[in-house]
């Protein structure tokens, strides 16, 4: 698993696309920080970490998902991975942690923003802490979804588009709830990936959202493993 993580990191930082992703994240997060913190003349970070940064995360995970399995399949390097003496779980977890580390590297820019607030105001470290925990959990579930989608297709573009589409659907899923019977509408309302993030932005560390994000992560990682396994049997 460590070998896969290492390979992901080396590959990400050696390719222009890696630096492009970091640049996009930094640029967009800087705009959001200016809009929601500096222009609002506040030290509250909840609005910054909320709605719009979610979209940025979606785009970044979408771009990252191209590299997970679609690219390996396209370049036939999956033959090396699948014929090596590691299990599919190790392979998928290696990819997952690799992507998570890459994403966390992107989010390091947030510490710079915290420093700015610390110089000119007071940082609410409790709120910052819950937002960071929430971000890690959300990103984990998004990456797991991206891994699953990437295992479905050989096309890197399709993987990115489908990942963004699915994440967007999970973002607006409660809008569709009104078209369904009550029992299903309830489930859909709770399925909204953003709604679960509210507590974190308000500085609350609640168990249900944590369980929600962990469940999504585990389920989609499991589905990614099953999908790769299924492709071997088809």
């Amino acid at each position: 698993m460590t070998a896969i993580i290492k390979r992901e990191l080396v590959s990400f930082f050696k390719n222009p696309i890696g630096w492009f992703v970091i640049a996009i994240y930094t640029f967009l997060s800087a705009i959001l920080f200016t809009l929601f913190v500096i222009w609002q003349n506040t030290s509250y970070l909840g609005d910054y970490f909320g709605f719009w940064l979610f979209f940025v995360d979606m785009i970044v995970v979408g771009i990252l998902s191209m590299r997970f399995f679609s690219e390996e399949k396209k370049n036939k390097t999956d033959q090396l991975l699948l014929t090596s003496p590691i299990s599919l779980y190790q392979l998928v977890l290696g990819k997952f942690f690799g992507a998570l580390i890459i994403f966390l590297t992107c989010t390091c820019v947030n510490f710079f923003y915290v420093l700015v607030i610390d110089i000119f105001g007071t940082v609410d470290y409790g709120c910052l802490f819950t937002n960071l925990i929430g971000t890690v959990l959300v990103i984990s579930s998004m990456i797991a979804i991206g891994l699953f989608v990437s295992a479905l297709t050989e096309s890197t573009i399709a993987a990115a588009a489908a990942t963004i589409a699915i994440l967007f659907f999970m973002f607006v899923i409660d809008f569709f709830a009104m078209f369904f019977p009550t029992w299903l509408a309830d489930i859909l309302m709770h399925g909204n990936i953003y709604a679960q993030f509210d507590d974190f932005t308000n500085g609350i560390l609640n168990l249900p959202p944590i369980i929600y994000y962990l469940s999504v992560t585990v389920i989609f990682l499991f589905l990614a493993v099953r999908m790769i396994e299924r492709r071997r049997w088809s």
Binding site: K6, T77, L80, T83, S84, P85, I86, S87
Partner: protein, 362 residues
């Protein structure tokens, strides 16, 4: 070393590999030969665990591939048709990654990373490009890096899928020699659709066509089995006016005789071919002795592997067509009595015959 039994793989309705079985012993260099679409790559992909089979069992180095996949895979070094290379890595980074991926650092019998990689690079002769990006290497070097990847961890079995595909003649010879060297202390299974390649490298050949094993034999036996004793190159010392071709061509059992030329003074060279399952050597000798013609040289000319392959594949096709025809006949024969019985039961059989007769009379 490798035991395959009843292996089957389907892609939708198409059966890519159809119930094949074979065993490869330790130290064997075996070639799987067949045209494109014969099922060679699918077979190799199943043995290496890249894809799963729909039926059958695979055992590698005593480990069942389904029950102990990690142990079975650890015994194999696999070079697919397109080497699985990361073009954004240098050779050093790539081989280091493969070393970690195969968990070599935990194996007691494997040397430390630096030494092991240096050793493998030395064997496949890529030391000169060790620090270069893979994407900048020539096709031949990429193939060597792919081979180096397969050798990492010192696996006792090497599986090579069309290892010389797309290389230039010089590189082909070099890679062939390299495989031969590697095969001296390893079990090697390689596939190719280039017959001369398999002939040059392998001791045993498995011929596949449309998912079936058409033949499994030692390379030398294969040629002999397919009629090497029926074709000879002969050099004969005979008077200039003698009608050698006419006389010998008229012998019973001679299918064909072909004049080749005169390469020594007072001699002629020809190729004589006997009918199937006929040994013409004695008759040839007796006829020549009777006429005081001296046989200076007689060389059995085995069929080339190309000839054998075409013959086997066409035989296999004919056999399967015959089997299909027989099955159809049996099916018809089985259904015919039932039809008759039904017709008798309805009391229609006589009526029909009468009707036929009437039609004829009119």
């Amino acid at each position: 070393m490798i035991t395959v039994s009843g292996l089957t793989k389907r892609y939708g309705n198409k059966i890519a590999v159809n119930n094949i079985s074979f065993t490869i012993n330790q130290g064997d260099i075996v070639g799987i030969l067949g045209p494109n679409g014969a099922g060679k790559t699918t077979t190799m992909n199943m043995i290496t665990g890249y894809i799963s089979s729909h039926a059958g069992k695979i055992s590698v180095d005593g480990h069942d591939l389904l029950e102990e996949p990690s142990k079975a895979k650890a015994s194999i070094g696999y070079l697919p048709e397109i080497p699985p290379l990361y073009h954004d890595m240098t050779v050093r980074e790539y081989l280091s990654f493969v070393y970690d991926l195969k968990g070599c650092s935990k194996k007691e019998n494997i040397k430390k990373k630096k030494e092991h990689l240096a050793e493998v690079c030395e064997v496949v002769k890529i030391t000169g490009v060790y620090n270069r990006l893979i994407k900048n290497l020539s096709k031949g070097y990429k193939q060597r890096v792919g081979l180096a990847q397969a050798l990492i961890g010192d696996p006792p079995i090497l599986i090579l899928d069309e290892p010389t595909a797309g290389l230039d003649p010089k590189e082909i010879v070099e890679i062939r020699n390299l495989i031969k060297r590697l095969g001296s202390r390893r079990t090697v299974l390689l596939s190719s659709h280039i017959l001369s390649e398999v002939q040059a490298i392998c001791e045993r050949i498995i011929i596949m066509n449309e998912g079936f094993i058409v033949m499994d034999a030692l390379a030398d036996d294969l040629t002999m089995r397919m009629g090497a004793n029926s074709r000879y190159g002969v050099r004969l010392a005979a008077p200039e006016d003698a009608d050698v071709i006419g006389v010998l061509g008229a012998l019973p059992g001679v299918a064909k005789i072909e004049y080749v030329g005169s390469f020594e003074k007072g001699t002629i060279d020809f190729i004589i071919e006997a009918e199937k399952k006929t040994d013409i050597r004695r008759l040839l000798f007796e006829e020549c002795a009777k006429r005081n013609w001296y046989i200076l040289m007689i060389t059995p000319l085995g069929m080339s592997l190309e000839d054998i392959f075409i013959q086997l594949v066409s035989q296999n096709d004919e056999q399967r067509a015959l089997e299909a025809k027989n099955r159809e006949k049996e099916k018809n024969a089985r259904s015919a009595p039932n039809n008759n019985a039904e017709e008798k039961k309805d009391g229609k059989i006589g009526e029909v015959k009468d009707g036929d007769k009437n039609d004829g009379n009119y």
